[in-house]
Symmetry: C2
Amino acid sequence: MDRLMRTVQNVESRSDRRKRRNRQALIDAGYEVMAKKGIDAATMSEICELADVGLGTVYNYFASKDELAMYVMEQVMERLAQRIEAVTNNFTDPGQVYAFGIRNVMKAATTDQRWRWLLRRSEVIAGAMYRVMGPYAIRDIRQAVAAGRYHTEDPALAWRQATHAIVGFSLAVCDKDILPGKMDEAVVNLLGMVGVSRAEAWDLAKRPCPELPGE
Amino acid sequence: MDRLMRTVQNVESRSDRRKRRNRQALIDAGYEVMAKKGIDAATMSEICELADVGLGTVYNYFASKDELAMYVMEQVMERLAQRIEAVTNNFTDPGQVYAFGIRNVMKAATTDQRWRWLLRRSEVIAGAMYRVMGPYAIRDIRQAVAAGRYHTEDPALAWRQATHAIVGFSLAVCDKDILPGKMDEAVVNLLGMVGVSRAEAWDLAKRPCPELPGE
DNA sequence: ATCAAATGTGAATGATATTCATTTGTCAAC
DNA sequence: GTTGACAAATGAATATCATTCACATTTGAT
């Protein structure tokens, strides 16, 4: 009865709390270890050790190592999306919001040491980026289209392609196949994908870029 | 002495022939098995079995399973690139060559059952696509820029981003997250990335698409 | 025919994701 | 406060491969 009450009233029991703690601890530990050694080299042992749970426990929360990796990526994306959102909230030019967003995703991906290893599993990180940041990005594209700044029929499609292109660029920068200075042009290319003319895109990419709030 | 002669005269000895056969048999078997089960699920055992060589032999030719996978991908790309080249040779409109190329890469990636599993390792397939098809694609972009049809400062950068965007699109189609009918628009987006206006891009994407020669 | 070098071989190794039989913790009911 | 049934945690044991390596075979110059 009590349990039912809690469920109905959405009150968290002790075990619910522990479950939430464990789950989060595993994601955090996963992030820590995967960022340090890469997804493949990260062992479940080390992750469980760091999360301070038994080796078998992780499988009560995630079906596989890959699923854990996916949730790790999603958390990384969610946090970045919210930091970007905090800044673009005040923007007035609808064309600049998306442009600013992708600039910052690239900056994080190419600059932050912790991202580098995660990029090696492109399809996982691009998938997480699509799912988690998509709602923000697609909305931003849509608004810019409504304002007549962008021209694209299907913002979701453009975003899908953009996520992979962003990951590809970041990966190449990390591998030193592309100089980081190319970032502006990479942004211009991505803006071209949503129907912005080359000249306008360069204008957007060259504008000063406000700092993101700290983590 | 004889050996030296052969080397100098570029004549293949028996063992050279065997080596070439083995290497090729391993790549072919790798393609076969990886296409059937995916790169991760493909075992070296099964690949060696199919190639009819001992389990240890593969390591005389490739440093690791990942390196073998890379060569498998490169071969897939090389063959496709050459089939595309055979058709675009006769094109007169410099803007259409690259457009035709990416259309066909996407068609192969989304249609051919054998590609599907390979897409699951995006960064490997995108890397192979960049390296192997890059010389053709970058040349095509460059010529279209010279003709005033495309507008981009760095064709290599655009191609780098395009490879990942192509893989991302194809992956999403295989996962049924995007309808195959979206391909034209995906091509339009990619053309936007090389500075083609939306209207021109739609024109290019809608043109009839000659068939590729058979494999 | 003989030898040294190159190449092939697959049983053994090592690393680690995943499973599962047990133990431990939780909480509603009495 | 005790109990019992259920949920969750645990880590030793298992299973699966990639990779290695000691040895066998083939090659080709002499």
